[in-house]
Amino acid sequence: MRPPRRRRLLLQPKAVAASHPAAVSLSDPFVLDIADMLEDSVSSFSSSSSSVLQTLRDASSHSLLSQRWPTHKDEPYRFTDTSFLKSSKILPAVPPSTISPSFSSPSSNLITFVDGHFMPSLSSLSSLPAGAFAGSAADITPGPLYDTVMASAGDAFHHGDLFWNLNGLGAPDLTVIYIPDGERMIDEPLRLRFYSAAASETGLGRLPLSNPRVLVVSGKLAELAIVEEHLEAESCEGNGCYWSNSVVEILVEEGGKVSHSYVQMQSRNAAHIKWTFVRQEKCSTYELVEISTGGKLSRHNLHVQQLGPDTTTELSAFHVAQSDQIQDLHSRLVLEHPRGYSRQLHKCIVSSSSGHAIFDGNIKVNRFAQQTDAGQLTRTLLLAPRATANIKPNLQIIADDVKCSHGAAISDLEEDQLFYFQARGIDVKTARDALVFSFGVEILARIPFEPYRKSVSDRVKELLTAS
């Protein structure tokens, strides 16, 4: 506890009270402690405290004042148990001074973050198209891009929760990637790699917290493929304790298309909390394929906001919750303009009685979103007795001329399918493994890059057969 440090956070209680009349819990000591600690740590390495970053931090700390740690009484955390974080000693993640060479891999358009810090030495940006930008927000010269970045840093995102704001306060920098109008970056995708290297050993109750933050702006009529990976450094041997609290914002400008693959394979002792905030201008397309198998607590908050008519949005997710794992997707798609088309497919496997899957998929079709065509489907495979899944698909439709469908199914493996394998001489274990894996193939097959799709598929297969 360092009361003097906290003072800055408490400077504006009046403004807070005015804008959040219901915010009575101004002081959740646990939250303030984390905020305090983050503020301390950012000031220690922020040589380049740009005005963008300052704006972001101010807005975040402002919002944080009214936020308390979520409990099961808060709807978004009704089923998601965050007590593991609350009972840990949270420290700022300090990236190791020497980075092991196993990090780097030859790849173009690669941006590597270690514990939230952009690592130019582990990145490769030489083949970015002319006019593109990738780097710190501090290095953006005044102009339209600067205005866009500034606006998104300062505009409070009303759906942003405590974790969104902790990231805004604790992010060591805001990394911006800009792809100019009409560019195509499809065959050589933009690779965003997030490593957690500052990990604690198990059993110490310490949790280094990192807050990577990225904003991707894809210009008008541009086509961009993004591969976003959350991994951990090999030195952690797959079981390091840490908390990765990331934010990725994507702005798809008019007529553009972003195809986004997001793969989360962090340590089974880690917390992975992530926000993906996407805004789609008119006639744009956003496609997300999400594969999440890592983490002790993995929570993805996905918010897609439609900014103009005729958008296409395709969201696919495949989660695997094994023993002592929570896999949670909270998604919200807000359609406010005519003729939006959206499809969402969520699939998860819970393979252990101590595994827990959560899906809350909200699709909001507002009054002016006429002729929306929205579909949502969620399927869960429960493979163990007492395995838990809390599934809440929900459509909120206010417009009247819309086509919406949704469905949810929870099942075990099909007996008839298992028998078909056996009848062809394949033993039960092999048959089960093949069927369990096949459940996710529908999503894995949507990863757009063949070698990458294969390597992710192989890792998922290995994981599922090992259990």
Partner: protein, 324 residues
């Protein structure tokens, strides 16, 4: 997959012509009981069928083969008084089925809808929906009922399903390779790589007249009725089973497809392989001539006869052959 390229100009192999066949007269093995339990014998049908059976024509499918087994026929499958219930509802379906199939024989089972034909076939391959409550089944002298379904497959029993299940997410190629290598492993043979396997598979694809594109698709997913049946025969070709039980392999097939499938099945038959077909129509039996035709009724085989029994059925319906 590059290895899946298949030149479209590959000529189809010539199939053995269906008409000229070697026919021999075979004495019906006297030790074999082909009849239902005694309650059916009282109807006096058994004698007639035995008389018919005694002058049966057995057609081996290998053209030009002049030398035939001189030794006694070897029993492949022997079913005695088999009864079975639906595991969940305990409803009795099979009520004492008796059947003997020798090596190299072709049998057909006909019977009304719901008489228990598919159930019989599925019980033979160990489907978990059913529980055997009595009787015995031996295959090549071994107790079939004691084996897990995969062991029955390894032993050489294959069943093609009336409605094969779809398996989304598993490619046909992977499935066939898994099945093939499971069998090879069982026999102590080294596993085939996907490329080796494709070499092994190519002539079989030609034999069932199946487009290699189907290998990349998921098992039976979105296949038409006829495509599913062809796929079953492809699996049979890969597994080289000694006893193939084909449940309504002809249903849903157009004329050309029926010929394709029949050709493929005939092509697979050797003097040591046997076939048990379940069908409603004589049409299939015109292409694949059975040595014996059995009628199933209310869970038992109530009559056995020659091909002419199928003809009689086609003309006069079940009433003419029924024992009830």
């Amino acid at each position: 997959m590059a290895c899946l390229c298949f030149p479209s100009t590959t000529p189809l192999p010539r199939f053995p012509s269906l008409s000229p066949r070697v026919s021999i007269t075979k004495i019906f093995p006297s030790s074999i009981s082909l009849f239902g339990p005694s309650r059916f014998r009282s109807h006096g049908v058994d004698l007639r069928s035995q008389a018919t059976a005694a002058t049966l024509t057995v057609d081996y499918r290998t053209p030009g083969e002049e030398t035939l087994d001189t030794g006694p026929p070897r029993i492949l499958l022997e079913v005695r008084d088999l009864s079975a219930i639906v595991a969940e509802s305990r409803q009795e379906i099979l009520r004492g089925v008796n059947l003997i199939i020798n090596e190299g024989e072709v049998h057909a089972i006909m019977g009304k809808n719901g008489s228990g034909k598919s159930t019989f076939a599925k019980v033979l391959v160990g489907h978990p929906d059913y529980e055997v409550t009595g009787g015995t089944v031996s295959f090549k002298g071994e107790d079939l009922l004691n084996m897990e379904p995969e062991m029955r497959s390894h032993a050489g029993v294959f069943m093609s399903f009336q409605s094969p299940v779809e398996i989304p997410g598993v490619s046909n190629m992977d499935f066939l390779l898994m099945a093939c290598n499971a069998r090879r492993e069982k026999r102590g043979e080294p596993a085939l790589s996907p490329i080796e396997f494709f070499g092994f598979l190519s002539p079989k694809l030609v034999a069932v007249n199946m487009n290699p594109k189907f290998l990349d698709r998921n098992v039976n997913e979105g296949f038409s009725g006829g495509e599913k049946k062809r796929n079953e025969i492809l699996q049979l070709a890969v597994l080289e089973a000694e006893l193939a039980i084909l449940d309504e392999i002809d249903s849903g097939l157009d004329v050309d497809a029926l010929q394709d499938v029949a050709k493929a099945v005939n092509g697979l038959l050797t003097p040591h392989k046997s076939l048990l077909m379940i069908t409603h129509y004589q049409r299939l039996l015109d292409y694949i001539k059975p040595s014996y035709v059995h009628i199933m009724e209310a869970g038992a085989i109530v009559r056995t006869g020659s091909f002419s029994l199928a003809k009689q059925l086609e003309k006069e319906g079940y009433r003419s052959v029924s024992v009830a």
